[in-house]
Symmetry: C2
Subunit: 193 residues, 2 copies
């Protein structure tokens, strides 16, 4: 149940077996079925969820009722509404399982305590954030300055897992395109080669 977490932490910092055992005690294991939600828009996000198994998505809903996917999460990734989680504000995102998933939940206070008891965990969290920040900056640039086709091609090149495990209309939403446009973009690409 803690394989992915051990792997993720081990890639960033070195922990002894005892330290990792201590670490484990701060998490709450939870299984969640496809289409179930971990967080509903408007609620307070009490958990940062590490994904041991499965796929989740976080999304906003606009005035017209359209869903806009902000992030996907796969094995070895974290998902949360960071703003709500850290400040206790009402969440603007809904987090939902795309597949049956196994999660390890960490409350904000458990996380604070863990970072104090285990400085390496704070370092791990910072390193994760750095990578996430770099990825988001690339995505901003893509969102603002690329055509529909460029966005899709870059996604297929960099995030094979998204294409493989996420329904096409959700990929469209993630890229800020309509399902129709993504379908046509794919058609164009397939015709050309």
């Amino acid at each position: 149940m803690y394989e992915q977490l051990a792997k993720s932490i081990g890639e960033k910092v070195a922990l002894t077996t005892e330290e990792f055992e201590l670490c484990k005690t701060f998490f709450i294991p939870k299984k969640i079925r496809k289409k179930q939600t971990l967080l509903l828009e408007g609620d307070i996000c009490t958990y940062n969820a590490f994904i041991e198994k499965g796929v989740l998505r976080s999304y906003t809903i606009d005035d017209k009722g359209n869903e806009h996917i902000v992030q996907f999460g796969f094995e070895g990734w974290w998902v949360t509404d960071l703003s709500s989680y850290l400040t206790g504000a009402n969440s603007i995102y809904t987090i939902e399982a795309i597949e049956d998933s196994e999660l390890l939940l960490l409350t904000a206070s458990a996380r604070e305590e863990l970072m104090i008891q285990l400085p390496a965990f704070e370092r791990y969290q910072r390193l994760l954030l750095q990578n996430a920040y770099i990825a988001l900056q690339t995505r901003i640039n893509s969102a603002l300055n690329e055509t529909a086709e460029e966005k899709y091609l870059k996604l297929t090149a960099s995030y094979t897992n998204i294409i493989a495990r996420v329904p096409q209309h959700m990929v469209a939403s993630y890229l800020g395109l309509t399902p129709e446009t993504l379908s046509r973009v794919r058609k164009q690409i397939s015709l050309r080669k």
Copy 2:
């Protein structure tokens, strides 16, 4: 010369006077004039720059030669190409002063050493990153799902300093709009009230 830095750190963590004095020794002060660059696309980004005074922007240049502004930096903010700074890869951004500016530069190795000697500084860096990440996520959502007018109105509501101190065509670039479109959007807004 270190007022803004003291303020920025003080908002996140508590340092003794001696600790802050130690901290200061890791930084290299540098003045940079308007239109001068701190980093050129293709070079390796050797510094994380804290802005004591002034305004900077970081931007990419696409195949057609168009500039796309990724970030502005004001007093009390940090600017760098995080990816290049951390990994040593060639930078994809250019960082340039919009006004004459005063910077405090921190090399990657100085930063590492400072985080080891002063764990509070690692905490400070993580807290900064958390806020930056939250802000970027909001921006992604805006970039993908809002109209030109909505983007502009939200920017004016949240980032008065950008509107006040940055030329309009750079604001347009930051929002992913052409200068013409931003001009028309502003016209529409002014006509309505």
